[in-house]
């Protein structure tokens, strides 16, 4: 039963091949059996899951239908879940039980999804390897010595290992697409504003966006359908109609204009990955697409700009974790300053502290214009590059990551080396564009992803291309040994 995709589960539940309770029970025992190897879950909500499954079965028995009714899900542990620990992968929130549901959690629960638990992640979503979690590193099911990517590493590893068909993740600089690429999944970062951020613990507010991870584009479409939509509780959410993402999955790609940015193929890209990108382009050409070389001239400024803006916002967003109202508080503070210093010093891990310090510095009097303002200018240039490119092409294609998954610990102590892995994904966050990573082959037995970027609110186009590609390729169907 664990091999089923979300779409197959929907059919199985609809034709009563199995109940949600049966499915939930089977997946929970698989999680308990296999997850100790992976460490992809922080919290397993077994009792609640079985209750939700029975409730979903009752709803179905009462005549209700729906693709997500009774289907399993797990949430990245930064989506607040009422009555359940929401840790953000941090010691700071190890004792924090959320008093409310995030909009994403509430919407999916309303659609009848069964929450199996909360998945591991880089602390406060800061990382590209899922090594910075307070709950320990997550392992890549394709090779347990390797990282699964981050920061949604637990969400990716769990789906890749067939512990469940789909999970939610968040993407601030590539945190859905990069782990999807490194674990052979399809992962979608929607347009900024498409999915509500209410209840999603913020890392960098202007970049964060929730989205689905699954094995197929078809499943991503189903899950995104449940997540997307305007939310009055999030002022940055966009009041834009949500189309039926499944309706056009099979639309023809005849005449589709694909842009291949020349800047993507410079130094730093593993040539074997470059070859796989070219191979996927060939497949799309066979499906009727037309390929064109384009330019994104300001792309090389993206990482420096991101590592000013994201830490700057984070330094402010994480100020509320001060030991006063919730979360970790140090023992026996001798005064207020001591309470702040030790609660934060002991509650936050090294990477979080590094980014808070970088962000605080970038916003300081005398440095603000040189760093923050300059980074915002770069952000505008990058957006303009995309706007110009989308005058000529319908979608942009390229590698999701410059390298396949690295060994756990290989980049420890060299944060910049890890930052550079976000080279291809970060621009979509800076510009607010939707992006999707899909499986496109293997290097040394490790998965490789290809990224597609589209104009604002064209998630449907990304899903259509990925789905058509997955009809003629089988990379996405391959499972890691032992799972």
């Amino acid at each position: 039963m664990h091999q089923l995709t979300l779409a197959e589960i929907a059919r199985g539940l609809a034709d009563k091949s199995f109940s949600s309770e049966e499915l939930t029970g089977a997946l929970l025992s698989r999680i308990k059996q296999l997850d100790p190897q992976l460490n992809s879950f922080i919290t397993i909500t077994e009792t609640q899951a079985l209750e939700q499954a029975r409730a979903a079965d009752a709803r179905r028995a009462a005549g209700e239908t729906g693709a997500l009714l009774g289907a399993p899900i797990a949430h990245k542990d930064l989506f607040c879940t009422n009555g359940v620990r929401t840790s953000c992968g941090s010691k700071m929130l190890d004792n924090f039980t959320a008093p409310y549901d995030a909009t994403v959690v509430a919407k999916l629960a309303e659609a009848g999804m069964v929450t199996l638990g909360k998945t591991n992640m880089d602390e406060f979503a800061m990382g590209s390897a899922n090594e910075s979690s307070h709950y320990g590193a997550v392992k890549n099911p394709w090779n347990l010595e390797h990282v699964p990517g981050g920061s949604s590493g637990g969400s990716a590893a769990a789906v890749a290992a067939r512990l469940l068909p789909a999970t939610t993740g968040t993407d601030t600089g590539g945190s859905i697409r990069q782990p999807a690429a490194l674990t052979n999944l399809t992962g979608l970062k929607p347009t900024y504003g498409r999915v509500s951020r209410w209840g999603m613990i913020a890392y960098a507010s202007s970049l964060d966006q929730g989205g689905p991870l699954a094995r197929t584009a078809e499943d991503c479409a189903l899950l995104l359908q449940g997540m997307a939509g305007f939310d009055a509780k999030d002022s940055t959410s966009v009041d834009e109609p949500v189309p039926d993402f499944s309706a056009n999955l099979n639309a023809s790609l005849q005449g589709l204009r694909i842009g291949l940015p020349k800047e993507y193929f410079g130094a730093g890209l593993d040539p074997r990955i470059a070859d796989l990108v070219q191979a996927s382009v060939k497949e799309l050409e066979k499906l009727g697409a037309v390929v064109k070389e384009i330019s994104l001239p300001n792309m090389q400024h993206a990482i420096p700009a991101y590592y000013v803006i994201a830490p700057a916002e984070a330094s402010s967003n994480l100020s509320r974790f001060d030991g006063v109202r919730f979360g970790y508080r140090c023992e026996d503070p001798k005064d207020l300053t001591d309470l702040y210093k030790r609660s934060r010093g002991e509650g936050f891990g090294a990477e979080v502290q590094r980014r808070i310090m970088v962000g605080t510095y970038a916003l300081s009097a005398g440095y603000y214009d040189a760093y923050y303002v300059k980074a915002q200018q770069i952000r505008r240039l990058i957006k303009n590059d995309f706007m110009a490119a989308f005058e000529e092409v319908d979608v942009i294609i390229g590698p999701t990551t410059p390298n396949p998954a690295w060994k756990i610990g290989a980049k420890a102590g060299d944060p910049v080396a890890e930052y550079l892995e976000d080279l291809y994904t970060i621009t979509a966050n800076l510009a607010g564009l939707p992006g999707l990573s899909m499986p496109a082959g293997f290097v040394d037995g490790l998965p490789v992803g290809v990224q597609l970027l589209a104009p604002y609110f064209q998630e449907g186009r990304l899903l259509n291309i990925a789905h058509r590609y997955q009809q003629v390729t089988d990379w996405h169907t391959r499972a890691p040994n032992g799972f």
Partner: protein, 481 residues
């Protein structure tokens, strides 16, 4: 050395919205601690702010009332600092692009002149919570009911030159926000709080001296005293060869002195940046038009109307229009009593000193506008004299009812019967035969003075009830023979 004082003020006004600026919590004062604090007010992980449009509307009302430019695109920024009653570790405020730009406000000085005070800007922000240091066994309690209450911070130009001017300006702002109905102005509850920036410079010097900021002064009286004691401190310091250091100070009303709170070096770097959780606020011209159309009559228009409609002096009009309640009271008195100048006099002089003595505002006046207007009618139809009216007024203040009732129960009706006055005068002149003789012997200049004596005697004899006009006329005829 002659010193010139330079004062600029930052006034925080709590806007009278039903709910908070970024959450749906109520803003009622005095509720049980933390009963008006939602997830957003608590700064829970994952929560987001949503701007209350009513706060924007009120800020626009204020901007229009001081003739300021309203920022067509204003931006909320985060002011970052740690404090236990600041739940998010930052305050959402406005920095580079405030909602209200440069404007001005006219104040009436005591000598009757009008001075224009510049307003640099006014911006929207959220209030912090309160730290409670008592009754927690040495720990500090935090009440977040106030956290997120909308504030409009009004920043003046350094245009004031004395503590009295500063108070007049705060009173004018106080009156204006109450006119507009955007703030209840209750200073005791902290609805209107004031930071005073004070510096001195030798008279004639153009550059400013080093300023000190006195934080959070909460009454008109304390504003005046705090500024004056700070001025004196700075003068003493400089005249003793010292230097003023830029710092934030607190006023201690018990000792009537300011003391240092933190120096410039200790000041926070607030690391302002645009709040990424909120979009820029775009004020459409049509929205502004609707706000403008709904503005009540404001002090400047009211002052003008009081002069043209009632023929009042500029000073009287300014004083009467200084609060909406006083202006309404005055107009009600005129409506009943009919004579605007007489009404203005009574409201400003007799009623003013009564309220002062009682220490109450005009809306708690023991004499209602209806009663005062009714009494003016009796002055105008000669039922009572101006002098008797004071007795009637005192009786009304003591709660003895309306003027007609008091006049009849106390027998204060003016005597206008010529025969009766004639008889009373004859008796009085007979009793003062010596003075009558002296009068008749005196020249014109001396007679003038002596005439007053006879009028006084006559009024005394009639217990003030004789009609003064008739007394004058008859007395003159009798003395001149």
């Amino acid at each position: 050395m002659q010193w010139e004082v330079v004062i600029g003020l930052e006034i925080h006004t709590q806007l009278a919205t039903q709910s908070k600026i970024f959450s749906g919590s109520a803003t009622t004062f005095g509720s049980e601690p933390n009963t008006q604090a939602s997830l957003v007010d608590l700064g829970m992980p994952g929560v987001l702010p949503v701007l209350n449009q009513e706060a924007v509307r009120m800020a626009c009302m204020f901007g229009l009332a001081i003739d300021a430019e309203i920022g067509p695109r204003n931006v909320f920024a985060r002011k970052n600092y740690f404090y236990p009653d600041l739940p998010k570790g930052y305050q959402i405020s406005q920095m580079d692009l405030p909602i209200v730009g440069k404007g001005h406000l006219d104040i009436a000085l005591e000598d009757g002149t009008i001075k224009r005070i510049g307003v640099t800007r006014a911006h929207l922000e959220e209030d912090a919570g309160k730290s409670l240091h008592e009754d927690f066994n040495g720990a500090t309690g935090i009440d977040l009911n106030r956290a997120g209450t909308p504030l409009l911070e009004i920043v003046s130009e350094p245009d004031m030159r004395s503590a009295k001017e500063a108070v007049a300006y705060v009173k004018a702002i106080h009156a204006l926000v109450r006119y507009l109905g955007i703030c209840d102005g209750n200073m005791a509850e902290g609805s209107l709080r004031c930071d005073c920036n004070v510096s001195i410079r030798p008279k004639g010097q153009t550059e400013f001296g080093t300023r000190c900021e006195i934080k959070n002064v909460n009454s008109f009286r304390f504003i005046e005293r705090a500024i004056n004691s700070e001025i004196q401190r700075q003068i003493d310091l400089i005249e003793d060869g010292g230097k003023v250091v830029q710092e934030t100070r607190l006023y201690d009303p018990n000792k009537d002195e300011t003391r240092s709170m933190r120096s410039k070096e200790e000041a926070n770097d607030y690391r302002y940046f645009p709040d990424p959780d909120l979009l820029p606020v775009v004020i459409e011209p049509s929205f502004l038009d609707s706000v403008r159309a709904a503005l009540p009559e404001l002090p400047p228009q009211k002052v003008e109307r009081f002069q043209s409609q009632y023929g009042l002096s500029a000073y009287d009009a300014n004083v009467l229009a200084s609060s909406r309640e006083q202006a309404d009271y005055f107009e009600q008195v005129v409506k009943i009593g009919g004579d605007a100048k007489l009404a203005a006099n009574w409201v400003m002089v007799e009623l003013g000193s009564l309220l002062n003595k009682l220490g109450v505002e005009i809306d708690q006046s023991p004499v209602s506008a209806e009663h005062l207007g009714g009494m003016l009618l009796r002055i105008r139809d000669n039922t009572i004299s101006g002098k008797i009216a004071k007795t009637v007024f005192e009786a009304m203040a003591a709660g003895e009812g309306d003027a007609d009732g008091i006049i009849s129960s106390r027998g204060l009706k003016q005597v206008t019967d010529t025969g009766a006055i004639d008889k009373m005068l004859d008796e009085m002149l007979a009793a003062n035969a010596e003075q009558v003789e002296q009068y008749r012997a005196a020249d014109e200049a001396k007679r003038g003075k002596m005439f007053g004596f006879f009028v006084g005697q006559a009024m005394k004899a009639s217990k003030g009830k004789a009609n003064p006009g008739q007394v004058n006329q008859l007395l003159k005829a009798k003395l001149e023979g």
